[in-house]
């Protein structure tokens, strides 16, 4: 099960954060801060998986954005890397060559796309067409 998804830029500012388990307030801030501290300084040569408390952190850097996903220990790490890739490609298709600015200015759209892909910590849809179809449809409303 996916515990959270975090998009952070290389200065440590959160651009998108979604939590799939009950965590609010101070706990959330601590989690975010520690996660960012652990992932950001890693070099390209190092492995994308980090163990943190009872979770596994899987991260990938795309240009100036870090995509960090926290998962349960029984999840397949390589498939989460695929998920991150899928997410980026979906954003790419919707925003036409996505950049950090696109996601920053259109936060609510980004949340909606994310919600079409992942619900309650499980992957719900992986086909980009099917993910974006409802978004396009409701935009014309």
């Amino acid at each position: 099960m996916i515990k959270f998804i975090l998009l952070v830029n290389k200065d440590g500012q959160s651009r998108l954060s979604r939590y799939y388990h009950n965590i609010l307030g101070e706990e959330r801030e601590n989690l975010e801060r520690e996660t960012i501290q652990k992932c950001l300084p890693r070099s390209k040569k190092e492995c994308s998986f980090l163990e943190y408390q009872n979770m596994m952190l899987i991260y990938r850097r795309y240009m100036s954005l870090f995509f960090i996903v926290g998962v349960d220990s029984d999840e397949n790490e390589l498939s989460i890397l695929e998920l991150i890739q899928n997410l980026v490609e979906t954003f790419d298709r919707y925003f036409n060559d996505v950049s950090e600015l696109d996601i920053t200015m259109n936060v609510e759209k980004a949340y909606m796309i994310l919600d079409e892909m992942i619900l309650n910590g499980h992957i719900i849809e992986t086909s980009k067409n099917r993910i974006l179809a409802p978004i396009y449809a409701t935009e014309n409303n």
């Binding site: 492995c47 998920l83 609510e108 619900l119 719900i124």
Partner: protein, 775 residues
């Protein structure tokens, strides 16, 4: 009231802030405006304001005052309003707030709405935040939606059901019938979520697994279609069609096949097919292979398949991608308990990984390497591991030193090598060696009689080089105290300087003078000095003076020792040689026996000591071990220290666990005898079952079966026989091993059957009263 700004403008405003303080001011100002607008019950701009509030919440500022507003938005008719409202509900509310119950009604209405997107929104929100009460209320609605024709709604409903089932496992009964038809869908999204739902039901309610096992053929067919199908543009990822669905199905198969032989057999073919056909040039392919290997390892696969899996992992280990290597090391660690020899083949690669740049890989490689040590490779492995220890991060050192020590004790080909390894371990481990290892090292040294001189010499030189490492210093000081005379009289290695009495005493004194030395080490040193006072008779005066210096020490332990030792010099000088003779072999006590014997001698000692102080000299046995005397003194003066516990040997001896009688009926009596290793990563308890028969007829065809809850693992070895001889003339023994990694109370269900005089007697029951020491 000015028109509230749009979200985009707010974002731009915040981005333009140069400092954190500026940002805070801007946010606070906006929050105030939003709050005022909320109070005014303005419908038009509520949507906009809540959107801004969500953004502010993401930045980390408090936004709870928007919760009720979300509810109002949800109740509105406009789609945009509902959307932001539901998003707000998902982000701002969670189970712990009471407000979320209020949306139950809106959710129910929206789930019956004709527009599929609104239904979708409601399901999405329900799936993210529903509590047990809400689950119970709305489960029927969700089940209805699961049967709808619309794939979009179905997949969301399925994941919603997943959460409900997790919160309230009993609800799974409602959803099980629907899942059957879900598996027949063509839509990948629905399939993905259906498999997720089934997996969740199996996890929270394991007794449903037999039901789902019947669908294994269908799952296998699904998987097969995925692999065999040609290019499917919708779900293709680098040549693999829908790897996510494949991985999900493999995961479910793994859970279903875990305990079940029949199910596992059915899967053998498809697993072999997936393993051989999947391309491993891209991450997607590797992800599928990884999942396949995990599946093979967990089910009761045939050996050919296992070999295939280990080979795949071996290939992964050689891959240049770090992530793949990490994944391989992780899986091999799980494999090692099942198939040790296969992993041994990759030993060299694993040792290379010890030198990797990445800390995660190094950690896994280290754990795996320790698990791989056996008699034949111990020398090479330890050499590599000591090398690793020298370079290792401090977080690995305690674990590494402990495991090196255990391996040295268990597999050492000869004593000299063992002691050399221990010495190197102490040198490399620095201050991270824990006390038990120190104690056990001392024990190991005292065991090897002919090497005393040699090892003391080595320790002397090691300490000479560096006295700051406490564990090394403690072992060295103990040895110097015990065997100092051997050191002086023995031969010295070429090239090193000659050791003489003064040299040794100088060294010990420098330890005492050093500020880095801990109190425990100082205590060790005082003891050692006392022992040397008999071994080096000429230096007795000097030693007496050094010991006397501590009579005013602030540490109670040191002061006490110093005073007593000084007393020993002054008034009871004649006793000194007898008291401080060479220690006898430290017996390997178990944890429970040692305190008893120590107490017995302690009370005896205490009495003697009292008599001593009363100017009465009874005869003392000359071979009293000195540490017990220390204990007596401690008890007398009421302080406690760790010295005695430090010297207790550990790590190889199991604590005594009383045997348990589990069955005594119809003349059959079954007892369990327990054995447990104290340091054991899986916390395994070995139980030996002993069945005796007090009747006049033999019990034939005796079969004993046992099962444990899922959090444990049970291994039952073959019994010594199937016949329990009559009149207690013999017994059947059988070994069971239970591993208890979570340290829970062991429970076991047992079933036995045997044949007595032509009648078959069967019985079963549950054992809950395992002694607490087993856990």
């Amino acid at each position: 009231m000015p028109i509230p700004m749009r979200l985009k403008e707010l974002i731009r405003l915040i981005r333009s802030c140069k400092t954190a303080a500026e940002e805070r001011t801007a946010v606070n100002k906006e929050c105030a405006l939003i709050r005022t607008t909320f109070k005014e019950e303005d419908n038009e701009f509520r949507c906009r304001n809540v959107a801004k509030l969500l953004y502010i919440h993401m930045l980390g500022y408090p936004a709870h005052f928007g919760q009720l507003e979300c509810l109002k938005l949800i109740a509105s008719n406009r789609f945009m309003d509902k959307r932001i409202g539901y998003l707000g509900a998902m982000l701002l509310l969670d189970e712990r707030q009471d407000v979320h119950i209020l949306i139950t009604n809106s959710l129910k209405n929206d789930m019956n709405n004709s527009t599929q997107f609104i239904v979708g929104l409601a399901l999405c929100t329900l799936g993210s935040i529903c509590s047990p009460e809400m689950s119970r209320d709305l489960a029927n609605e969700v089940e209805k939606l699961l049967k709808s024709a619309n794939a979009y709604i179905k997949k969301k409903a399925a994941l919603c059901a997943t959460r409900m089932v997790r919160k309230v496992p009993e609800l799974s009964e409602i959803f099980i019938p629907v899942t059957r038809s879900l598996l027949n869908e063509k839509n990948h999204g629905v399939l993905l979520t259906a498999v997720a739902l089934i997996t969740e039901i199996c996890t929270v309610k394991p007794d449903t697994m037999p039901h789902f096992r019947r669908w294994t053929p269908q799952l296998i067919r699904l998987l097969k279609n995925l692999i065999m199908a040609g290019y499917a543009p919708d779900h293709d990822v680098s040549g693999i069609s829908d790897p996510f669905l494949q991985i999900r199905i493999l995961n479910l198969l793994r859970i279903l096949g875990k305990e079940d032989q029949e199910c596992s057999e059915a899967m053998n073919d498809i697993l072999a097919q997936v393993a051989t056909n999947t391309e491993s040039s891209h991450n997607a392919g590797n992800a599928v292979l990884y999942q396949t290997v995990q599946c093979i390892m967990d089910i009761k696969a045939e050996s050919g398949l296992r070999v295939l899996a280990v080979n795949i992992m071996g290939r992964f280990l050689l891959n240049s991608d770090k992530n793949i290597r990490y994944v391989a090391l992780k899986t091999l660690q799980k494999t090692i308990s099942i198939d040790h020899t296969a992993v041994q083949r990759h030993r060299n690669t694993i040792i290379d990984c010890l030198k990797d740049h990445d800390i995660s890989i190094r950690k896994r490689a280290m754990e795996l390497s320790f698990a791989l040590i056996n008699e034949s490779n111990v020398k090479t492995m330890i050499k590599e591991l000591l090398d690793f220890l020298n370079r290792a991060d401090s977080e690995f050192k305690p674990f590494a030193t402990l495991r090196i020590f255990q391996a040295a004790i268990k597999y050492a080909p000869d004593k000299k090598w063992q002691l050399d390894t221990i010495l190197q371990m102490l040198k490399a481990g620095g201050s991270y060696v824990n006390d038990e290892v120190v104690a056990s090292s001392i024990h190991a040294v005292s065991e090897s009689r002919d090497l005393h001189a040699y090892i003391t010499q080595q320790l002397y030189f090691a300490m000479y080089a560096d006295i700051s490492k406490q564990p090394l210093a403690q072992v060295a000081i103990w040895c110097l105290g015990e065997y100092g005379d051997l050191l002086i009289s023995g031969t010295v290695e070429e090239g090193s300087h000659k050791i003489d009495e003064d040299g040794v005493l100088d060294l010990l004194q420098s330890v005492l003078n050093d500020t880095v030395t801990s109190f425990i080490t100082r205590a060790f040193t005082l003891n050692a000095l006392m022992k040397l006072s008999t071994r080096f008779p000429k230096a007795a005066g000097r030693i007496k003076e050094v010991v006397a210096r501590y009579t005013n020490s602030l540490d109670l332990e040191l002061q006490q020792r110093s005073v007593e030792y000084s007393a020993l010099f002054k008034s009871y000088d004649t006793l000194r040689p007898g008291l401080l003779e060479r220690m006898p072999r430290i017996g390997k006590n178990d944890g429970t026996e040692a305190p008893v014997s120590a107490d017995a001698t302690t009370s005896g000692q205490a009495n003697d000591l009292l008599d001593l102080l009363g100017d009465d000299i009874p005869s003392m046995q000359p071979t009293q071990p000195q540490n017990n005397r220390g204990n007596a003194l401690l008890d007398l003066l009421g302080s406690s220290s760790n010295e005695d516990s430090v010297v207790q040997p550990v790590a190889a001896m199991p604590p005594e666990i009383p045997p348990l009688n589990i069955y005594d009926k119809n003349g059959l009596r079954i007892d369990f005898n327990f054995e447990k290793a104290t340091i054991n990563p899986d916390n395994t308890v070995q139980m030996t079952l002993n069945a005796t028969n007090s009747t006049a007829f033999p019990f034939t065809d005796f079969v004993f079966q046992a099962a444990v809850p899922r959090s444990f693992q049970l291994q039952i070895l073959a019994p010594s026989g199937a016949v329990v001889p009559p009149n207690n003339s013999g017994s059947i023994t059988q070994v069971l091993k239970v591993s208890n990694p979570n340290k829970q109370n062991i429970r076991m269900r047992v079933k036995l059957s045997f044949n007595m005089n032509g009648n078959t007697i069967q019985d079963q029951g549950e054992i809950n009263n395992f002694p607490a020491e087993c856990n």
